[in-house]
Subunit: 255 residues, 2 copies
């Protein structure tokens, strides 16, 4: 709710006395912004939310943005963490229907420094309540693009100069080896499919590489949100810690 | 269900005709193991599960193991990935009540090569249905320890020679810097607290370091399962890719 208020998305606030008492700063910020602040009973609150244990305050929000993919790849877009070069990190959710997974990946993408998250056709509505809560405010921090097929999205991002990497538990390229070889220093779009159905047919073939996260125990794979965290933080390290030199470079140095 | 069968945990199998038809190998494996295989209607299946869209087969399992923490730190334990030195990677869930998060961390711990996951007092029951499903079979791949306070657990693991790292969004030590300095090559136990309440009071103080995952965007932190994935895979890289030399070593090499 705090992030939604900060983004100017809140229309009305409903809360219990206890809820408001725990978050006086929210009430003050809402009143300062001209947002209606309404008291409500526990029972009334329960009818407004689909959570089992609501936290005492509910915000009614307007939809904020329907960013076009062309705006995302525009070098002048202020969401980019690095000036004058277009987006350095973009996430594409390819028909990801699970709202908890989608919201968690959205939060991780924000934390890893991504400037946009694309929800392709067949993906969950980013305004799904569970997705919004799992995003923990990150819905308001990055550009959200909705719709378009995965194929169209991949073509647009590649045309804008991004390297397209498809996360694939059966992919031929090992993430660590790819990172150590310097591949992740490029501007990158990561493509994640649904855990149940994987990447849409044919999509992995138009990516620049199908990258797998190695497993060292008996688990065959990671869940979507965990795999995305490992992949996106590998990119974050490559982008934000350029001092980390790769083993290949070390082997070439005289001993 | 396949992993439970492999672990000898299944007592009875109940499934619809369609469910069995999609997994004939499971039926054969169950029959070979002397497990009862019973047909059931869709309606009957719904009464046996708490999922909204069950996958057609339900297994009734016995509880398998209640590993003692002393067995986990025994160098002779066959679960260890590296012989003769005791566990190299252990995960402690400190009062983690959310079953989905706990099960996902369990799956990630398995994938990263951990030999045991400890559910301390106040953590969810590892046999909670949602935790079992989120673990995707990893419940049967690693040693599971239940109970004991977080403080007792930390003391036992440290006494066995493991470095105790507490994941803490407000910790003073940066994960990447710690990894680059070689800190993760040690035998390590990672401590994760609940997302709502963080680490239990005083526990962070008895860890060897409180380690944070840096955030590069506007998100304040990662969710528990995502943070655990980043931390545990940083350890996996240090343990399984010893060829990856640290920047400090590179800077010392002549140019």
């Amino acid at each position: 709710v705090r992030e939604a208020l900060g983004a100017g998305a809140v229309v009305d606030l409903f809360g219990t006395i206890e809820g408001y008492g725990r978050a006086r700063d929210l009430v003050e910020a809402a009143q300062a912004a001209g947002v209606g602040v309404w008291p409500i009973t526990e029972h009334g609150l329960a009818t407004l939310t689909d959570t089992v244990t609501p936290q005492g305050i509910v915000a009614v929000c307007r939809h904020l943005h329907h960013t076009d993919l062309r705006a995302v790849v525009d070098p002048g877009n202020e969401r980019h963490r690095f000036a004058d070069e277009g987006p350095r990190l973009v996430v594409v959710l390819a028909s990801v229907a699970d709202p908890g997974n989608a919201g968690t990946v959205l939060r991780t993408a924000d934390a890893a420094g991504a400037s946009a998250v694309v929800f392709t056709e067949g993906s969950v509505d980013p305004y799904n309540g569970k997705c919004v809560r799992a995003s923990a405010g990150s819905l308001f921090h990055v550009d959200i693009v909705r719709g378009g097929t995965t194929g169209e999205t991949v073509r647009t991002l590649r045309a804008a100069g991004l390297t397209m990497l498809a996360a694939d538990a059966h992919g031929p390229v090992d993430l660590d080896e790819y990172a150590d070889a310097g591949g992740l220093s490029a501007r990158t779009a990561w493509l994640f499919g649904s855990e149940a159905h994987g990447l849409p047919t044919g999509v992995a073939d138009i990516a620049d590489a199908r990258v797998k996260v190695a497993t060292y125990g008996l688990a065959e794979s990671l869940n979507l949100a965990a795999a995305a965290a490992v992949c996106l933080y590998a990119s974050a390290r490559a982008h934000h810690r350029p001092g980390a030199v790769h083993p290949a470079a070390v082997r070439e140095a005289p001993s």
